[in-house]
């Protein structure tokens, strides 16, 4: 069972509110102070891939399209247990999904792949497009938002998450591509020493050219005009004081507002 997992690196904008700034170009954010990390959804994809490798044997290859700094994320994938990692050296921040998809399809097409896994979406842009696009380009079946997976005899039995807790059940013939939703597993903690050890593992870098793609393959069909900071909410009225009095105040407020 050879599994390819596509991962990406994202700036950590989740924790604090007012840390994001737009840069001079107006088309990107100030990345200076931001810390990068592996995309949350991709952790689940990797964990799922590694668990199936553990059960069925085979290999797990982590791939990405991105700049040199993204090797950190590939190293993390290797530390989690991936066997090898490949980065296509392009600045993913300026290309659109279809371009990224085209590149990844070209790469994955050259790799042995019984299963291809993507995170269901990315934390930064949240397009949730890449996986199914790549599947369509590779001409293999896909299922998005997979919350349960069972692999046996060349088939993948999956459950797709629908709104409100319902699920669609599919059987896909391998090779197939799945986009993985959070909650499908509990991604393992990656210890610092395992990251160190992962330095010995193979991490190769490829160019568009090596993939036989012309530069115009990257021309975006969707063009970013500009970025704007989202207008912040008006902000809550904070009720201060110890648990006892704060709770009492809130109870009164709720009563006066007639919500109870």
């Amino acid at each position: 069972m050879d599994i390819v997992v596509a991962v990406k690196q994202v700036p950590d904008t989740s924790e604090v509110v007012d840390v994001v700034e737009i840069d001079g170009s107006g088309k990107d954010i100030e990345r200076g102070t931001l810390v990068s990390r592996i995309n949350e959804w991709d952790k689940y994809a990797l964990e799922e891939a590694l668990q199936w490798k553990q059960k069925l044997g085979g290999t797990v290859t982590a791939v990405t399209v991105g700049p040199g700094e993204w090797d950190d994320t590939l190293r993390r994938a290797l530390a989690m247990g991936a066997d090898r990692a490949i980065r296509v050296d392009e600045d993913a921040t300026v290309i659109d999904c279809s371009a990224a998809a085209r590149t990844l399809a070209a790469l994955i097409g050259r790799l042995p792949h019984d299963l291809v896994m993507f995170g269901a979406q990315s934390e930064d842009f949240g397009s949730a497009q890449l996986g199914p696009m790549v599947a369509e380009m590779l001409g293999i079946p896909h299922a998005a938002l997979v919350v349960r997976l069972q692999v046996e005899e060349g088939e993948a039995h999956v459950e797709r998450e629908l709104e409100g807790g319902a699920r669609d059940l599919y059987t896909l013939r391998l090779p197939a591509l799945l986009t993985i939703q959070t909650g499908i597993n509990r991604p393992r903690y990656v210890s610092f020493s395992s990251v160190r050890k992962a330095r010995e593992k193979e991490l190769s870098v490829m160019s568009l050219d090596e993939l036989g793609l012309p530069p115009q393959a990257l021309t975006p069909a969707v063009e970013l005009a500009r970025l704007e900071l989202a207008p912040a909410g008006k902000g809550a009225v904070l009720i201060s004081g110890a648990a006892e009095e704060a709770a009492a105040r809130l109870a009164t407020i709720l009563r006066e507002a007639g919500v109870i």
């Binding site: 604090v16 509110v17 279809s98 397009s127 199914p132 005009a225 970025l227 912040a232």
Partner: protein, 324 residues
């Protein structure tokens, strides 16, 4: 000919809310641009609701299919691809739903159209389409335009686009297209509904929503007691479902449900946009969270900075027996 196509998604014999939102939006854009609005639905029971779609759409293409009763990507992709190739609409609109996340990207590749997903605003000025997307955890809005092309495919964020009841009387045209809902490489095996016992949080007047901040499953009891005191229902954010503390039916947000209660009481929820989009419609939002920097405090009406586990029991007490 200029045309806007809306893909109508349906479940349990009803069009999805988000599809109605897209139909209203499509109608608005079509009226501005003075072009036609076409709705496409693939269904086993055309009579069920195709006529309803016609209140917005000038014409409804109903593609007859056998099972299943609800929308699946495979048959839709084939039907839509041929409709799009034939009619070349300028714009194809879908709701940013689980269904569309499976369908839209593949369809875009299939028909070679640019795709922008999860749009929060869609504008059309003399043919040129621009959209807004909310990125970086809702902290940044990105404005996009498109290279000249025949068709642009967009999906719109649920709960963001207003629904205005359609008044029109479009025609419903039942067409027969080669729809193989059974591809041998991808079999639909059925659908699992959430446990029937579960309450529908979208109907609840008061929601007490728990997040990571409740620390452990055992503490859900506190929230449940409060919910009972308020005559409300328990809801939650994604991690709570991921940790297996509550069934996914309780989840509010992008991948959960969109709710519009009178009171939304968020306990230990940081307020990532994936969650917040699900409760924008709430009349009143109250947040209790240890971290005063939690984004939820920007959207909430009232907030208490403190330990949920300490405050909630006291609050329950005060709800049950008001101080004289």
């Amino acid at each position: 000919m200029a045309e806007i196509l809306v893909v109508a998604e349906h479940r349990d014999g009803k069009p999805a809310d988000v599809s109605l939102e897209m139909l209203s939006t499509g109608r608005r854009l079509a009226d501005q641009a003075g072009c036609g609005l076409l709705a496409v639905v693939v269904t086993s029971d055309v009579s069920a609701f195709a006529p309803r779609l016609a209140r917005w759409a000038d014409s409804v293409l109903a593609v007859k299919t056998g099972k299943p009763e609800h929308s699946l990507a495979e048959p839709y992709q084939k039907a839509l691809a041929s409709v799009i190739r034939e009619r070349k609409p300028n714009l194809v609109l879908l709701g940013h739903s689980s269904f569309a996340m499976d369908l839209a990207p593949a369809l875009a590749v299939d028909v070679g159209a640019p795709l922008a997903t999860d749009c929060t605003n869609i504008a059309m000025e003399n043919g040129a389409i621009t959209v807004t997307r909310s990125i970086y955890n809702g902290k940044v809005n990105a404005l996009y335009s498109f290279a000249p092309c025949e068709t642009v495919i967009l999906t719109g964020r649920p709960g963001v686009f207003p629904v205005e009841e359609g008044r029109g009387k479009g025609i419903v045209e039942e067409i027969d297209l080669p729809v193989h809902e059974e591809a041998e490489y991808k079999r639909f095996e059925g659908c699992s509904e959430p446990e029937a016992s579960e309450v529908d949080i979208t109907k609840a007047d008061v929601l007490v929503a728990v997040g990571r901040g409740v620390k452990e499953k055992g503490n859900l009891q506190l929230a449940e007691d409060l919910a009972r005191a308020l005559g409300g229902v328990l809801a939650c954010s994604r991690p709570v479902v991921d940790y297996g503390w509550l069934p996914s039916g309780h989840q509010v947000g992008l991948s959960g449900k969109t709710v519009r209660p009178r009171l939304y009481l968020a306990l230990g929820i940081s307020g990532a946009f994936q969650h917040m989009v699900g409760l924008r419609g709430s009349k009143m939002i109250v947040a209790i969270n240890k971290d005063e920097k939690a984004p939820i405090f920007t959207d909430a009406d009232y907030g208490i900075v403190g330990d949920v586990l300490e405050i909630v029991p006291v609050l329950t007490k005060h709800i049950l027996e008001p101080r004289r």
